[in-house]
Amino acid sequence: MTNQDTMSCRETQAVLDELVDGQLSAARERRVREHLAGCEACRHEETALRRLLAATAELPRSLEPPTDLWPGIVPRLRQRRFATFTLGRSSGWRGWLLQAVAAVVFMGLGAVLSQLLVSPAISPMPGAGEPLALGTAAAAPAEFGILEAEYLRAKEDLWLTAYRGRRDLPPVIQELVERNLRIIDEAIRELRGALQANPGDRQLESLLLAHHRKEINLLQRLARGSEV
C-alpha cells in the first residue's frame, strides 16, 4: 500500500457526509472504509452522523398546527381568474419570462393596480390661515396594509424567478443589481422603522409603497435581463 492510498482522519471526516449519502466513487468509498476499519475515532464520527440521520428520519412527517388555520385562509380565496395577460408590445423578442412575470405581478395586484400607478398626491400642508385640504388619492389607513401585502406577494413570486435567473447575467451586472436591491431594502427598512414610530403617516406609507414598486421594477428587469 503506497502512501497515496492511506487516507488521513482529516480527509476521511471531510467526506463522511458523502459516504453516508452514497455519493462517493467506488474507489474512494473503498479507501474510506479501509480507514474506518482501522480507526476508532473516525468510526465514532461516522456512527454519530448515522445516528443523527436516523433520528432525523424518525421525525414526524406531519405536525399539527397550534390552531386551526383554515378560518384565516378562507377570506383570502378569491374568485379565481383565468386571465391571460399580454403586454401588447410590437417587439417579438420579449421572452415568455417577461410575460409570465408581468402576469404574476398584475394578476396579484388586480384592481388595486390602478390606484397604485397614480402616486398619491402629497396633501398640501396647512399653512397659516389656510383651510386643511384633504389628501386626494391617498389610500384610507386600512388599505395601506392590504396594498403592502399585495406588493409583498408580487415580490415573492418575482424574487424566485429573478433570483434563479440571475446567473445568466454577467457577474458585474449581478453584483450591481444585488447591490441596488440592497439599497432599496435598506430604504424600506428605514421607512418601516420611521413608520413604526409614526404609524399611519401617509407620507411614509406612500414612500414605502413606492419603494416596493421600485424593487419590483428592478426584479422585473433582472428577470428579463437574461433574455434578449
Binding site: 398640501p124 454577467p170 421600485k214
Partner: protein, 298 residues
C-alpha cells in the same frame, strides 16, 4: 543562425495567417424597403448600434460583425423591419459583437434592445424605445417620444422632444434641453436635467442618487422629485410661478428663495417647507427621507 529559407518560411506563415484573421470580421451591407412610418426593431448584444434617420423609404444596415456572430438577420414585412444579431446557440453570451450603423426613415418607430452594445439615435422623428443592460444610450434630434432604460448604462438625451421616460438602476441620466413631460428613475444613479425649457411635467425619483435640475418651468407645471437618501437640488429662475412643497423626514432643507423650513409635529424629526413663488399656478413637490433638499435661485 537562421537560414534564409527558415526566415522566409516564418514570414510566409505569418502572411498565411493574416487573411484568416481579417476574415474573422465580416463587413455587412444590406438594404430593404420600409414604410415611411413603420417600425424598425433592432436587437444586438455587444458592440454598438447607431440609428440615424434619412429621407428614403428604406432601411440600410452597414457595419461589421465580429467573430462568434452567427449571422445578421434582416427581415422586412408589412409590420416593419426586424434586424437581429444572432449568436451561435452554444456560445450564449460568450462574446460576439457587432457594430451596426442603421439608416431608417425619419418617422419610423425605432426599438432597440442590447445587452452591452451602446445605442446612439439621431435625426429621428418617430418614437424611440431603447433598452440596454450595460450599454449607454445617447439620443439627439427631435424624436416624438423617447423611452430609454438601462441597468448600468449611462443615458443621455439631448433632444428636442416633448416626452421622455428614462429609467436606470445605477447608470446616470442626463437630460438636456428638455421640455414637455419627463419621467426619470434611478436607484443609485444620478438624474441631471439641464437647460429645461418651459417644462410641463416632471417626475424624478432616485433612491440613493442625486437629482439636479436647472431650467425653466411652464406656468402650470406639475413637478415632482423624490429621493430616499439622495439629494435634490433645484435651480430655478426668479420668475418661476409655482407653489412649492418640500418635505424631508430627517434631511435638511435649504431655500434661497427666502422662507425657511420648519419642524412639523407629524414627523418626529421631520421638516417641511411650503411657500409660493409668483402667482403659484404650478406645483413643485419635493420629498426625501434623509437626503438634503436645496432650492437655488438663478
Amino acid at each position: 543562425m537562421r537560414s534564409i529559407i527558415q526566415r522566409t518560411l516564418c514570414l510566409g506563415s505569418v502572411l498565411l495567417v493574416l487573411p484568416l484573421v481579417a476574415a474573422a470580421q465580416t463587413e455587412i451591407e444590406r438594404r430593404v424597403p420600409a414604410s415611411a412610418d413603420g417600425t424598425v426593431a433592432i436587437s444586438n448584444i455587444a458592440g454598438s448600434v447607431v440609428v440615424t434617420g434619412w429621407d428614403r423609404d428604406e432601411v440600410e444596415v452597414t457595419g461589421t460583425l465580429g467573430r462568434n456572430v452567427e449571422e445578421l438577420e434582416v427581415e422586412s414585412d408589412a409590420r416593419g423591419v426586424e434586424i437581429e444579431v444572432k449568436l451561435p446557440r452554444r456560445n450564449r453570451g460568450g462574446g460576439g459583437s457587432a457594430h451596426l450603423e442603421i439608416r431608417v426613415p425619419r418617422r419610423s418607430r425605432v426599438e432597440v434592445e442590447t445587452v452591452s452594445a451602446e445605442i446612439t439615435a439621431d435625426e429621428l422623428e418617430g418614437a424611440l424605445d431603447l433598452e440596454s443592460v450595460s450599454g449607454s444610450i445617447t439620443v439627439a434630434g427631435q424624436p416624438a417620444a423617447v423611452r430609454a432604460e438601462t441597468v448600468s448604462g449611462l443615458i443621455e438625451v439631448e433632444a428636442d422632444t416633448a416626452r421622455i421616460s428614462a429609467a436606470t438602476v445605477s447608470g446616470s441620466i442626463t437630460l438636456t434641453g428638455t421640455r414637455g413631460e419627463v419621467e426619470a428613475e434611478a436607484v443609485s444613479g444620478n438624474i441631471t436635467v439641464k437647460s429645461a425649457r418651459d417644462l410641463e411635467r416632471a417626475d424624478l425619483e432616485v433612491v440613493s442618487g442625486q437629482i439636479a435640475f436647472t431650467g425653466s418651468l411652464a406656468p402650470d407645471v406639475d413637478f415632482s422629485a423624490s429621493c430616499h437618501s439622495g439629494t435634490i437640488e433645484l435651480t430655478l429662475p426668479e420668475a418661476t410661478s409655482a407653489r412649492v412643497v418640500a418635505e424631508s423626514f430627517s434631511g435638511r432643507i435649504d431655500n434661497e428663495f427666502g422662507p425657511e423650513a420648519r419642524r412639523v409635529d407629524r414627523y418626529a424629526p421631520g421638516k417641511e417647507l411650503s411657500f409660493t413663488l409668483g402667482s403659484g399656478q404650478g406645483r413643485i413637490e419635493l420629498e426625501t427621507f434623509s437626503g438634503a433638499i436645496t432650492l437655488r435661485r438663478r
